[in-house]
């Protein structure tokens, strides 16, 4: 019975914890001089990206290679989609070559679910429309867990997600994951950048969530602001956006020392983050990228390995045993 990773809600909080625990093992592999294990030897992982994302694709492919899986890439620009081949035909053709997992990025909400219905291979949602990006959410959780040493969960943690929530699959998945981990999430945006109906706590005052006396949120999660939103009358101009919703030097100075600053990348410098990242001690944006590989290794291993226990596939070194007892 194949399994797929399509959304955080379908994974559930137990599933999130399972992936994060596995990611510890994978992080240890990644720290080795030769960061490669034979756990998925003979498995084939195919990245099918209908939308440009070199970063996510490289992260998945690196993860697959560290587990010794074979990788294939289907890039849309070279594809026959422009000749009118349907998504279904594309998937069924590649599946016929013998693929164990598809990693799908598509600009349409729900495309990975459709693909999942057409193939016996596992499907990993690498981002669909404005809808979901579960591996981003998992790497965010892993980053918080390791940075704050909170392996047991995020009860009591206060998170603010700031920016273009309406058009953000990252916001939707990461919110679901933070809530599954027990954190409290507030969305910070003007109404124009919120979904039409919102169930979360909301504010349009970033200064309130940052606070003035170190009592602000524990995690400030900044979203990328796309230039094209200007043409849709969603905000008047970028200067005003940065003044209201950007991490300016003045706001950075008021951040509590323990506050983590996160961003799914790529950062639109001078817009949502208008301060030198090296002056932000709480910034963990590069760690997010690094952790992305470990988390995606964990996801691929979780879906494709016949062994529920990674120690049978991956030799656990003393280093990881030590890492497990004394989290950074």
């Amino acid at each position: 019975m194949k399994r797929s990773l399509l959304s955080i809600s379908e994974l559930g909080s137990d599933g999130v914890q399972r992936i994060l625990d596995l990611a510890d093992t994978m992080a240890e592999v990644s720290r080795r001089p030769n960061p490669k294990v034979p756990a998925l030897r003979g498995k084939t992982v195919c990245s099918v990206f209908f939308e440009d994302s070199t970063r996510t694709r490289l992260s998945f492919e690196t993860a697959a290679k560290r587990l010794s899986a074979d990788t294939m890439t289907f890039a849309v620009s070279q594809s026959s989609l422009s000749k009118g081949e349907s998504l279904r035909d594309t998937i069924e053709t590649i599946a016929a070559m013998g693929v164990d997992a598809f990693v799908i990025r598509h600009s349409s909400t729900g495309a990975p679910w459709l693909v999942d219905g057409w193939t016996k291979a596992s499907v990993v949602n690498a981002g669909d429309g404005w809808h979901a990006h579960p591996t981003q959410a998992l790497l965010d959780m892993y980053t918080v867990r390791t940075a704050l040493n909170r392996p047991e969960g995020f009860d009591g943690l206060r998170v603010a997600i700031v920016g273009d929530i309406k058009h953000s699959r990252v916001a939707r998945s990461t919110t679901a994951a933070f809530k599954a981990m027990g954190a409290h999430v507030t969305w910070v945006a003007p109404t124009t950048l919120m979904p039409p109906v919102v169930d979360e706590a909301v504010t349009d005052r970033l200064d309130d969530v940052i606070g003035t006396d170190g009592e602000g949120v524990d995690i400030l999660y900044m979203l990328r602001m796309q230039n094209e939103r200007m043409t849709e009358a969603l905000v008047p101009n970028l200067r005003e956006y940065t003044n209201r919703f950007g991490l300016t030097p003045a706001r950075a100075a008021r951040l509590a020392p323990h506050t983590l600053v996160m961003h799914p990348g790529p950062v639109n410098r001078g817009v949502e983050i208008a301060v030198d990242l090296s002056e932000l001690p709480g910034a963990v944006i590069n760690q997010q990228v690094t952790n992305g590989i470990s988390v995606r290794m964990a996801v691929l291993y979780d879906l494709l390995s016949a062994n529920p226990d990674p120690t049978s596939d991956i030799e656990i070194t003393e280093a990881v045993a030590a890492a497990r007892t004394e989290q950074p």
Binding site: R88, H106, S108, T109, L114, W130, V198
Partner: protein, 430 residues
């Protein structure tokens, strides 16, 4: 002469439902006309015991796809689907390729319907040339060619000045402007109803406001010009309220609702299946309830299918890429009875037959009472039969029904068009 084209038919033992009421009566048909009694024995006797005999159904809103998209439907296959759904007349929507915006295309559609011989196919015509929203079509020429309903369906006429001119010019031509109400500046890229479901799924929403603004605009244009208007596929709570108030003011306004807007909600889009994508979109349960209320109190005059066939490949695409539309002709009665359970059967049949017949300008031939002297355009159905639709069994060339797994109540057994059985025992005769 085949049996289905025999001259004399007896429909025995059924319950007749028409605008004059409900009664037990045998119906005798001779040479296409209902008569008091037959000369001699009937060629065909239909046992209608336990069945309802009503005037044939009239669909104000069918996309038959021919000319232009014959891979999805032809006038013949669409007519067959209509006959199986109990329809004796359908209004063919003009968003064909080429558009039904001139007499030659309109004549072609009508003639194809006559050749198929399964249903009277009455073409509507577009309000603007090519449905481009810029230049009026020749209303008078088209009216002379038999067109009664004008619509750019698929799009609303966006320009308020052009729409004002359309209403003004239509006056006195005995034609009706039928509006697809959608202010497109508010629905750009929209995939589904704007609400909590679209927020969760991260899909661009189609706000109710976009429909209601145009309903309001056209009500006021009717008030200004005095020309009649028909509102296509009303889908929101406030649209129904606006039309109710306009009718109370005595304005010459009619409206229709689709089977899917009285039965399905936007939550179905969470399946990511484009079978549930339609325009206007499936809305909330509150809207569904309001539309049902509108049918119940007469605010909405007709149930119209918005039958919109699409080939499977296009409906297998992701939600934002797939075209909107669903099949409706073969399931309309079953949906209507199943979801309007607290309405009298005669009131449901009114919404399927004589009320739409009047709106379409077909009231002299279709939707007539089942009495001697009237043309024999009839539907015989089992109002209590529960069934489920099987896509592979549909007569439509396409399979995009959203009603799989939905219990339906009411199944057409026989359809009579001009005294000829087009459907007998649930099967098309040609």
């Amino acid at each position: 002469m085949t049996t289905s084209e025999s001259n004399n038919i007896l429909i025995a033992g059924g319950t007749v439902v028409d605008s004059s009421g409900t009664r037990q009566a045998d119906v005798h048909i001779s040479n296409g006309v209902i008569v008091d009694a037959l000369d001699g024995d009937p060629d065909i006797t239909i046992d209608a015991a336990g069945l309802t005999v009503s005037p044939g159904f009239v669909d104000l809103h069918s996309h038959l796809r021919e000319p232009g998209k014959e891979e999805a439907e032809t006038i013949e296959t669409g007519s067959r689907a209509a006959a199986l759904g109990g329809y004796t007349a359908v209004v063919a929507m003009p968003n064909t390729d080429p558009t039904q915006d001139c007499v030659s295309v309109v004549d072609f559609v009508r003639r194809q319907g006559q050749i198929a011989g399964l249903c009277d196919v009455h073409p509507s015509a577009s309000i603007t040339v090519g449905r481009a929203g810029e230049q009026l079509t020749p209303f008078a020429e088209l009216a002379d060619a038999g067109v009664r309903l004008f619509t750019d369906d698929g799009n609303g006429v966006q320009d308020p000045l052009l729409m004002r001119r359309a209403f003004e010019y239509a006056k006195g031509l005995d034609v009706t402007m039928a509006q697809h109400c959608e202010v497109e500046r508010l629905t750009g890229g929209a995939v589904m109803h704007e609400g909590d479901c679209c927020s969760r799924l991260g899909l661009p929403g189609w706000p109710s406001l976009a429909e209601e603004l145009m309903v309001h605009r056209d009500i006021e244009l009717v008030r200004l010009t005095g020309a009649p208007a028909h509102f296509l596929h009303l889908s929101t709570q406030k649209s129904v309220a606006l039309v109710r108030a306009a009718k109370a003011d005595g304005l010459p306004i009619t409206a229709e609702a689709t089977p899917h807007h009285i039965s399905l909600t936007d939550e179905l889009l969470a399946s990511y299946s484009a079978l549930y994508k339609v325009n206007p979109p499936l809305r909330t349960m509150d809207d569904v309830t309001s539309v049902r209320d509108g049918l119940r109190d007469g605010t909405i005059d007709a149930i119209a299918t918005d039958h919109a066939p699409h080939v499977s490949e296009t409906k297998e695409q992701p939600l934002d890429l797939a075209p909107p539309g669903m099949l409706g002709l073969e399931t309309a009665l079953g949906v209507a009875i199943a979801h309007l359970g607290d309405m009298e059967l005669a009131d449901i049949v009114a919404c399927l037959s004589w009320k739409p017949a009047a709106i379409a300008g077909l009231g002299s031939v279709h939707g007539r009472d089942v009495v001697p002297g009237e043309p024999a355009n009839l539907t015989v159905f089992d109002a209590a039969e529960e069934w489920e639709v099987v896509p592979a069994h549909l007569a439509s060339k396409s399979r995009n029904t959203p009603f799989v797994g939905v219990p339906l109540i009411g199944k057409v057994k026989h359809t009579v068009l001009n005294g000829i059985l087009t459907v007998r025992d649930g099967s098309a005769t040609r």
